[in-house]
Symmetry: C2
Subunit: 486 residues, 2 copies
């Protein structure tokens, strides 16, 4: 069953994050949220998410799905191929919502609860079709963090689990199936244990919230972002391996190295202490700005891991390859729209504008877009066909800053035998920011020698080169550095 | 007191990491480690660390300090300005080592223990000069993770703490002072609590080590790498702030959301289960390779955060500015050595070589190096003086791959009025990889208009431009894209 229409029940932080991921990947979404101002808040959240995606995806983005506010749960679920529940964490509310959803939903449609702790068996009790309910637990911000925990209850069918495991990767996500249901599943168990210890450390005056955060983000947070817990310790154990590490640190379990045999009193004094320290730490940064900082860093870290082809970055690369396959056929008679991106924070430099090497990165991504259009896609590259740049000339004509949208168009100057001569123009709106001229050579990646492109690529190259002979010659073509204007 | 000579007692994973950080920052180190093969293992670790630094630092590196193996603790400590203790975590061993250290060390020299859990008060008990002992707890890999916990005991002097807080930033580190001493300090309390919960999750069959690691590294690990724990929740709390977040999640403390009121039996069955799962997860990757992957990712993530100017990356940027100030005066009569780096994993592309935009990044860092040499350093830029690139021509002459060392030399073609015309050459050894030609314009960053450089910069520019008139004209100067060779 193909999922096209999705009902999202609850439009809070988590629900809105789901809507963002769904429409970004081309799904139409009906949202039910009866709260005052829900629609306005939803669209603010969607704008935030769109800003992040515009920076995260350097591959062509899908045509966005539509969002509509539904007047009721029943209405939202009537034509839904998937129901995402993100209502408050109270069993009675959730049961009421499920009953109304089942009054109109097709009986085979999955109901995916975003609960962060309630067991699916407890959720599915009163359902008419309990086999279709499961937990799909995401993390904030849902539009940027890829993991979801997939948890089935006693009555959840294997088919429902499998459909979820197949669907969420199409949203660029990483579903991890939890083997047995327990309250809070895996992630929130880990988070809760550390959170309890953190509360003790603050309450006992060992450190402040700022100091604790610094210890995490300048320390083990950098390890966990890429390796997780066990692989980090595996490396620390060295050649002797995990068994050695365990032998060394096993005895700590007997030591008084946590206060976790007890829970701190959650009284006003503790809340005041922590809220006060947190204000001192980050109160000077408005929350919306802190959110943007977080998102900019999540984009930068995932792009860094994409470059090392690891973890969340490797997943992003795979999702971008899937996006690229969905890109529509261009109008070959015009300069080709080969790349667009919103300038992310990590593309700026000390001059407060996009740094010069990111101009070339954008142009090179334009070349990649052109390569995909002529059939030199990931598959062709894996088979050993690629273009190498031999020579480049760039004119930087205007500045561009963060959060501005840039787009590249590409004109073929010449494409003969093994050579491709390209002309890119970069614009922000109608403003010309830069041009670049490239001489590329078709290569055999196995011999690392120049080679004729495969026939299908040749045919497309000839087609576009012929079409582009009718375009005017670009202004600035053939310039050398420092040349005076005619 | 300036620290020049350092004694490192214990050359294991932690001790070797300290040696790496110390020599990288110009300190001479005497290492005592009586274990069989200690010197060989130390130099293997130093080679690893050097490989990471060669990729991490895009600023000029300091002249490395010397390492020697000392025949005894007493010998290592005789001329030391700082004593770093990284011997096994047994109080009797540490006390024996301190006694021998004090037999030769000057009485005011700090003794910094790397212990990850023992209280400094317990460590300093029998010392002749207990006021100089403190804990400086680093994290693996010490050469790449910046944080250290600074913990004083009952007898530690405020002066000793202050000297440590002043010294460790000069190594590019982030010292966080722990306010009260407790076993395991802050980080290992947090780690231990999560570790205990993780052991339960594996033992109870809720997930495997692989699944748990995926949930961390595709999820909250990406948040903690930049914001830590409390700031992450602060953002999640939204406009309503930390108090709202606390109110919402406070009640969880009463829920059965962790097993932390109990500790799992640490028996052979648990060790076998975890070691077996860990082997299935990552046993196919040799440990040395996993270490390189971890280091490559740590470099990439910290460089990404340097680009967003946040957390560990902002710290790295500050350290690089300090390194740049230490760079020696160049020989102005020759092409200037303006940049060198070892090609990091995140600079490669799908063709298996350094991607074209990183060529320009390297050349642009060469331009930055040149700017520093003529006085356009961070301070001058902050005052509003900078160079903007107007036009660039690059020839890609040869491929270069990861872990190869590249170096850039820079020749001034012309420097008149507001214009600077530069020629860069990039080499791996003697192999010419690429050339680039740039026209740069001196700018006033406040008006965003071209402007004459300040007099001191003008004088240096004239000096180097004059000196470089005696150099031969570069081969390829003034080329346009696709031009035939003469």
């Amino acid at each position: 069953m193909t999922i096209k229409q999705v009902a999202v029940l609850g439009g809070g932080v988590i629900g809105a994050g789901w809507v963002a991921r769904l429409i970004e990947n081309g799904h139409d979404v009906a949202v039910f949220d009866p709260a005052e101002g829900a629609e306005r808040r939803l669209h603010e959240s969607l704008a935030n998410a769109d800003a992040a995606y515009a920076k995260l995806f350097t591959a062509p983005r899908r045509a966005k799905g539509q969002v509509r506010m539904a007047p009721s749960v029943a209405d939202a679920c009537r034509d839904a191929d998937l129901i995402v529940e993100a209502v408050p964490e109270r069993l009675d509310i959730k049961h009421r919502v499920y009953a109304e959803a089942e009054s109109t939903a097709r009986p085979d449609v999955l109901i995916a609860s975003s609960t962060s702790g309630i067991k699916p068996t407890d959720l599915q009790g009163p359902l008419q079709h309990p086999e279709r309910l499961l937990v799909v637990h995401p993390f904030n911000p849902v539009y940027l963090l890829p993991v979801v925990e997939i948890v089935g209850g006693q009555q959840t069918s294997e088919d429902a689990i499998q459909r979820a495991m197949d669907f969420y990767p199409t949203l660029g996500m990483k579903p991890v199936r939890v083997r047995k249901e327990i309250e809070a599943f895996v992630a929130d168990r880990l988070l809760e244990s550390l959170w309890r210890e953190a509360l003790w450390l603050i309450k006992d005056g060992i450190c402040t919230t700022q100091e604790l955060d610094d210890i995490v983000r300048y320390g083990f947070g950098l390890r966990w972002a890429q390796l997780g817990v066990f692989d980090t310790y595996r490396v620390a154990g060295g050649e002797a391996g995990m068994r050695h590490f365990m032998a060394q640190f096993g005895p700590c379990l007997k030591w008084p190295w946590t206060k976790l045999m007890d829970v701190p009193e959650f009284d006003d004094a503790l809340v005041d202490l922590i809220a006060g320290q947190s204000d001192a730490q980050s109160g000077h940064i408005p929350i919306r700005q802190l959110e943007r900082i977080r998102d900019d860093n999540l984009v930068a870290i995932q792009k860094a891991l994409q470059a090392t082809n690891w973890g969340a970055g490797e997943l992003l690369a795979r999702h971008e390859r899937a996006l690229a396959q969905d890109a529509p056929e261009p109008d070959w008679t015009q300069p080709l729209p080969t790349f667009r991106v919103r300038v992310p924070a990590h593309w700026l430099d000390y001059n407060g504008h996009m740094t010069e090497s990111r101009y070339l990165e954008a142009f090179a991504l334009g070349t990649d877009g052109f390569m995909r259009m002529i059939g030199l896609d990931a598959e062709a590259i894996a088979a050993g066909h690629s273009l190498f740049t031999a020579e480049t000339h760039i004119r930087h004509l205007d500045e561009v800053s963060r959060d501005q949208d840039i787009a590249i168009t590409t004109q073929v100057v010449e494409a003969a035998v093994k050579k491709v001569h390209l002309w890119h123009e970069m614009r922000e709106g109608t403003r010309l920011l830069a041009t670049s001229e490239h001489l590329l050579i078709h290569m055999d990646l196995n011999t690392r020698a120049s080679a004729e492109p495969p026939p299908a690529v040749r045919a497309r190259l000839d087609h576009v080169a012929e079409a582009h002979t009718k375009l005017p010659q670009p202004d600035g073509l053939g310039r050398h550095v420092g040349q005076r204007r005619h």
